[in-house]
């Protein structure tokens, strides 16, 4: 634009700009967010320093007693241990499988469109439903053992969710089964953003398939990797639905997570203050691990550029 008219218009627009973008547009969202998230979170933080049972009006300030108890409570330490194992194992296996599947369905295979849809389907299913399904699949007389028996591997039959040594691994397997397609879709979006001529140029220069993957594809996938790792770590740390339906934390407390222990303390043991202390520990873990991981991955992303 040029000429006096255009300048006049620009000036008018500038003068109007701030007045014409109403500040109050942000208020409904802010009100909901403050009422539902900020105020209760702050309240939660204060409840953690009390002995409140969640029912009686009586509550006393107990300082850091809940956190000290948490440190010495074998149930809480166990839950913390299981939560971290789940988060790490799910993150590694789910993303390795998701990446392999993404590379597969990004190739020229004829069935790629059908496979993408089928592999992603479990990720949209209700976790309570898939967990109920797997509870049956993994039962002593369930389909997994049935399948093992019918292919001559009867000696491998196990009580997958009933043995303390196996239950945690079984839970991790179910989570990976449900969300590998989710990782796949995000990696696929990353792969499709890599220009084909970059790979072609490398192939012409004599780079082998593995080298092309290691030196070109993987670095360019860094943003997708960041999102995937963040999502699976956070999801793994917060895991509740699937554990609650399949094992409710058992057998013993072999699959207890911070989330299930929190629920039990708040609504079954009437240890409300203690439960909120657990929630705070979970919050700190999520915040520290995810922001640390984010910083690290972003540095790698920049290095890759």
């Amino acid at each position: 634009m040029s000429g006096p008219h255009a300048e006049e218009v620009t000036a008018r627009v500038k003068a109007h700009r701030h007045r014409r973008v109403p500040v109050w547009f942000a208020f409904p969202a802010l009100a909901l967010y403050v009422f539902v998230v900020l105020v209760p979170s702050a309240q939660g933080a204060t409840f953690a320093f009390t002995d409140w049972d969640g029912l009686n009006p009586a509550k006393h300030f107990v300082g850091l007693a809940n956190f000290r108890e948490l440190w010495s409570d074998p149930a809480a330490r166990g839950a913390l241990r299981q939560t971290l194992i789940i988060a790490v194992a799910v993150t590694v296996v789910q993303n390795a499988l998701g990446l392999a599947l993404a590379l597969g369905v990004n190739s020229l295979v004829r069935s790629r469109f059908v496979l993408r849809v089928l592999l992603f389907a479990p990720a949209v299913m209700t976790p309570v439903v898939t967990a109920a399904l797997w509870k049956y699949m993994l039962a002593p007389e369930g389909a997994v053992n049935g399948l093992l028996g019918s292919v001559g591997l009867g000696s491998w039959r196990q009580n997958w969710l009933g043995e303390p040594d196996l239950a945690l691994g079984s839970v991790i397997g179910v989570i990976v089964w449900q969300f590998a397609g989710y990782s796949m879709v995000i990696f696929l979006a990353g792969l499709q953003g890599i220009p084909a001529d970059v790979q072609e140029a490398a192939a012409v220069d004599g780079a082998g398939a593995w080298q092309r993957f290691r030196r070109i594809v993987l670095p360019l996938l860094a943003p997708a990797m960041t999102i995937n790792l963040m999502l699976s770590v956070i999801g793994g740390l917060k895991l509740f639905d699937q554990v609650w339906v399949m094992t409710a934390g058992g057998p013993g407390d072999s699959t207890e997570t911070l989330s299930t222990l929190m629920y039990k303390n708040a609504f079954q043991f009437n240890e409300y203050g203690y439960s909120v202390a657990l929630a705070i520990v979970l919050a700190v873990f999520v915040a520290v691990l995810s922001s640390g991981q984010y910083a690290l991955l972003r540095r790698q992303e920049r290095a890759a550029r």
Binding site: P22, A29, P40, V109, V124, V128, L133, A143, I227, M262
Partner: protein, 274 residues
């Protein structure tokens, strides 16, 4: 890359189909057993010889799924609509005003992405109880809207910042009020990101179990995950019946998924890129 279908491609295709088949095996078992008469003691892997729909009729009645489907649809639709409206509006000043308060407000919203919802879930439970909203669907709508506003506002603000101001400014010069300029001009331009916000939130809200399990307990309202959880406890060993219930519970979301899979897969990847 080479663009021919080689023997290697064929081997890769066979491997991928095998992996997909293995991952779909539980779904086969699910449907297979849901069609089977409970007295049929055949192998769980073999296809059912004389399929029946009786389990479905029984499960539909026993699990109270009719009411649960209606409740899930209401909660999901109202929450998602509310999230879209308030977040898109909030993003407008956040993206357009460069004053310092605008940046602080944006950071305040982003804090919501860090706080795990379990922290607010329990104290809010008390507030909802004091407001006598426990057992009401509105408690869920309120919770999901407040909880998801930060993420939706984040997506909208990022999208709006990249959107040129030309259109809305033209509308303002033509004498449109800010409300008109926003809803008639800006909001329609946000359509791609609105699609992502709708898909991500609808899947999350539809599938969520812990929140309705807490906030609806004691009342007679249920959403699908809660109804299925109760049903599961009640008929724990009658797997044929339970499986018919599970199929019914996942039919709505799978139907929507298969109908819209192109958009959904794109929405997932696109939204998470932001």
């Amino acid at each position: 890359m080479n663009n021919r279908y080689t023997v290697r491609t064929l081997l890769r295709e066979i491997l991928l189909i095998a992996v997909t088949a293995a991952m779909a095996f539980p779904l086969y078992v699910l449907v297979n057993l849901s069609l089977r008469d409970p007295r049929d003691g055949g192998s769980v892997i073999a296809p059912t010889t004389s399929p029946t729909l009786r389990n479905y009729a029984d499960a539909w009645r026993e699990a109270g799924l009719a009411g649960a489907v209606v409740n899930s649809v209401i909660v999901t639709a109202v929450s998602v609509a509310l999230i879209v409206v308030v977040s898109a509006m909030a993003a407008y000043p956040l993206a357009r005003v460069t004053a310092r308060w605008s940046r602080w407000l944006f950071l305040l919203f982003m804090l919501g992405l860090l706080l795990p919802f379990q922290l607010a879930l329990l104290p809010l439970y008390q507030t909802i109880r004091d407001l006598h909203l426990l057992g009401s669907l509105w408690s869920l709508v309120l919770f999901y809207s407040g909880l998801q506003v930060p993420f939706a506002t984040f997506l909208y603000t990022g999208f709006l910042r990249a959107l040129p101001r030309g259109y809305e400014e033209a509308a303002l010069i033509d004498g449109a009020g800010p409300m008109q300029a926003f809803w008639r001009v800006v909001f329609p331009l946000l359509r791609p990101i609105t699609g992502t916000v709708v898909i991500l939130n609808a899947i999350f809200i539809w599938n969520d179990f812990l929140t309705p399990f807490l906030y609806l307990s004691g009342g007679d309202q249920q959403t699908i995950p809660v109804a299925i959880f109760g049903f599961l406890g009640q008929y724990v060993s009658q797997w044929n019946l339970v499986f018919a219930g599970l199929v019914l519970a996942m039919l709505p979301i799978l139907a929507v998924y298969f109908a819209m899979q192109r958009h959904i897969i794109k929405g997932f990847a696109g939204g998470l890129k932001g």
